[in-house]
Subunit: 319 residues, 2 copies
Amino acid sequence: MAVYTQVSAEALAAFLARYDAGELVSAKGIAEGVENSNYLVETTRDRFILTLYEKRVDAGDLPYFMGLLDHLAGKGLPVPPAIKDRNGVEIQELEGRPACLIKFLSGVSLSHPTAPQAEAAGRAMADMHAAVADFTLDRPNSMGADTWQPLFGKCGRSLDQIAPGLYDDLGFAIERVVPAWSGDAFDRCAIHADLFPDNVLMLGDEVTGLIDFYFACTDIRVYDLAVMHSAWSFDATGRDYRPDIGDALTRGYASRFPLSPFEAAEFGKLASGACIRFALSRAWDWLNTPADALVMRKDPLAYVRRLKHYDPALVTRVA
Amino acid sequence: MAVYTQVSAEALAAFLARYDAGELVSAKGIAEGVENSNYLVETTRDRFILTLYEKRVDAGDLPYFMGLLDHLAGKGLPVPPAIKDRNGVEIQELEGRPACLIKFLSGVSLSHPTAPQAEAAGRAMADMHAAVADFTLDRPNSMGADTWQPLFGKCGRSLDQIAPGLYDDLGFAIERVVPAWSGDAFDRCAIHADLFPDNVLMLGDEVTGLIDFYFACTDIRVYDLAVMHSAWSFDATGRDYRPDIGDALTRGYASRFPLSPFEAAEFGKLASGACIRFALSRAWDWLNTPADALVMRKDPLAYVRRLKHYDPALVTRVA
């Protein structure tokens, strides 16, 4: 959410010379995305996002992410492909960081999407899942169900500093929810795994961009909808569920990918898994970020409250 | 250098409706300028910078700043005027902050300007000084010579924590330099007072923008050139003076505003004043910013070294 690596105008002009992309006209560091450095770059020809990958993105994963962006853009989805330089290379190095020049997409991220906007976003996710049917790359989910128990263990009893009872509640929830991921009962495919409203660009009720694929991975297809459902359908505190938004997301998704009776029956468990995943990563950041740091800590309890919404039996100790 | 106040897309669209400026197409928070929040906003019609003024800019000063921008833009200078809404109002309120919508200018800030670029920038400053001959508003310099002794007093002996001898050296320098500001020996006018390379946009050797006027004030005209000279002509550490850059700045400025013999003779004293001003404000920030804060502290000694360049007799204790 900040610019970590400074790129001088001189270095940027030299970088752009590798591409058939026009001459540098303007560059502004932008506050966007996960922990990467991003610039909005304008040339005499077009506009681009320049991303420098900081340590949170593993450079070894970039071929997967860029392959997925290319694949989806090639199918006509509103996904920003990386630009190839004159030698056909997408993943470059700049100021000592892996770096990609990416197509700029119009549109704004909404803070309070309406039901028609949520329906369009759900449909866009289904389009994405349809488009990856012939995508051949694989990437394990680095925040997947098999990582929750180890991350829970690393947080340990400190969880109870966030809220008394959190350790027991999360431990119990993991035990109950993780088994849903075993076996082959669910379809699996490339999923976005982080499709918060931040990561959907819209103009009016139209989706103009799906962005920030840096958690994309192979996982249960309907889990992607569950992540979206838990992210979009509540207020920031996780207290107020908005059924009109939740229903619109599901309706949009189901218009292209109807949920099977099994998926519909298990949806609450997948959504509970999404809540565990975000509660845990937020708890870890919370316990490891000083309270006076300038980085905003996100409240883990906002996801514990969502977990209680999806399955009240999983949250019995946290008030 | 960060986005302090978040503006939702919904609030921004409503804000834009006050203007005859087109519909919202894109908005990105940008990392730019002094401690304000800035967004690069694109509409169906044009591009703009939206600035929300945080506490470092006094809202009471905005009519002066906006009046100056308007005045300079009206004279054809590459200065971004604030846009008036349908009722002719420039200074608005958004998310509880004073806010202005400002014309977007192309160009990039250079990290290592060449001599021809420095000459063009010096000439642009002289154009600005010529253009304010009939500008009637006044604003005292909030970081002017009369503020140095009080700020020095607030820093006190803690200055020696930055470098042994700094308290004595700065105290002595203030005593020697401040008297240059008394009397009417120098022309005074509206000056930028902070024209670092960051605040000059260029395309090739052409100046396309002068920005960030939030230290602008009435002060000694040639002091503006002295601030620029001390900012542009050294490497970041203040150790290496680049005479080709310093000469080019002065040559560009003098092509429109030749220095009088008196101004030329006193230039070193004005430049020493500029070094005191930035050494002091950086020292204050240094002493009041925790070392582990995410904000980058700028080294006050980089300006003490410049001070020594302009007048070796003023820096005898700091190594």
